[in-house]
Point group: C2
Chain length 193, copies 2
């Protein structure tokens, strides 16, 4: 979840467990003791790996926001035309959301609990990711920028709803459904006001 490459280390073990717990109970609803217990340790052991509870959250959010942005940018650059780019963004975001529901939830909710040096960086990455979408949408359709941004945010709401409706649909069916709905919604957003 946290490192695509490299050995699973204690750090990443903690990060993964923390993401799961933060998603389920919220940052303030999880104690250091909970965090330690989740990886078979006592609470204070965490300080051997992180400066504190908020540093864990910060690292989680930095990782998510950077991964979303990096791969989003990559896919847009690799796409032939805006239509392909939008499709690639959709597939990427849906894959990520279906594969990492906890991360999506934490990314959506917990920014305010990140301490200040890093909060800005996360915000920056989040905004850049949104702008990647907005840019593609504007190249694809003729609509006001503010409307495009609102449409993108609404689409994220749709795509990120996954964690809350675990789904009796299988993963593939859900992915296809979300793709279809989001495409229709975005296309319609570009239509007459």
């Amino acid at each position: 979840m946290t490192e695509s490459t490299g050995t699973p280390t204690r750090r990443t073990e903690i990060l993964d467990a923390a993401a799961e717990l933060f998603a389920r109970r919220g940052y303030h609803g999880v104690s250091i003791g909970d965090l330690g217990r989740a990886v078979g340790l006592t609470g204070p052991a965490l300080y051997r790996h992180f400066r504190g509870k908020d540093a864990v959250l910060a690292e989680i959010l930095l990782d998510i926001s950077h991964r979303l942005l990096a791969e989003g940018t990559r896919r847009v650059a690799a796409a032939g035309d805006p239509r392909d780019a939008l499709d690639a963004l959709l597939r990427w975001h849906i894959d990520f959301a279906l594969g990492n529901p906890a991360l999506i939830v934490v990314h959506e909710r917990e920014l305010d609990n990140v301490p200040e040096p890093q909060r800005h960086e996360i915000r920056r990455a989040q905004r850049a990711y949104v702008e990647e979408w907005v840019g593609v949408l504007l190249r694809l359709h003729d609509l006001p920028e503010e409307r495009a941004r609102a449409a993108v945010h609404a689409t994220f709401g749709l795509l990120n709803s996954t964690p809350h409706s675990a789904g009796a649909l299988g993963r593939e069916a859900m992915a296809a459904l979300l793709h279809a709905m989001a495409t229709a919604a975005l296309t319609r957003a570009a239509g007459p006001a």
Copy 2:
């Protein structure tokens, strides 16, 4: 926000302030002291009006879930055909979300912090509200029930995204945009898998 009729009382003042704070910082991120201060009192004054912090949250969620369900049911019953019913549901939900962003956020996130006798009742109302939508969708289009339910959840995600993108668009423009996007998404969800 909390009582459509009747004098604004201390209770409702607290409930409104609490909803705002819970939405912004999360249930665990708000103290009794914060709650009191928000209405110009000290923390313990709250116990003259509620059994405890969780009772405040419970009352907020009971109110929201009941209001959503009651008006949703009313509008569906009043509608001529499924097409009108869906339109009425959309308008209702969008109006509610745009008019009460804090309530939508709390409703979405804080159910787990409600103590048990009431959690069930809230869940029941939430589910019934979803089923109202699912029923209309099934009457309107031919699609598997599970797919309809997933589509409704995704649509809620889209509509409830409002609070997170306050919007440089005006309220009316935003309402129209959400309505258009949601309709398109739901229509598409009913199409070929």
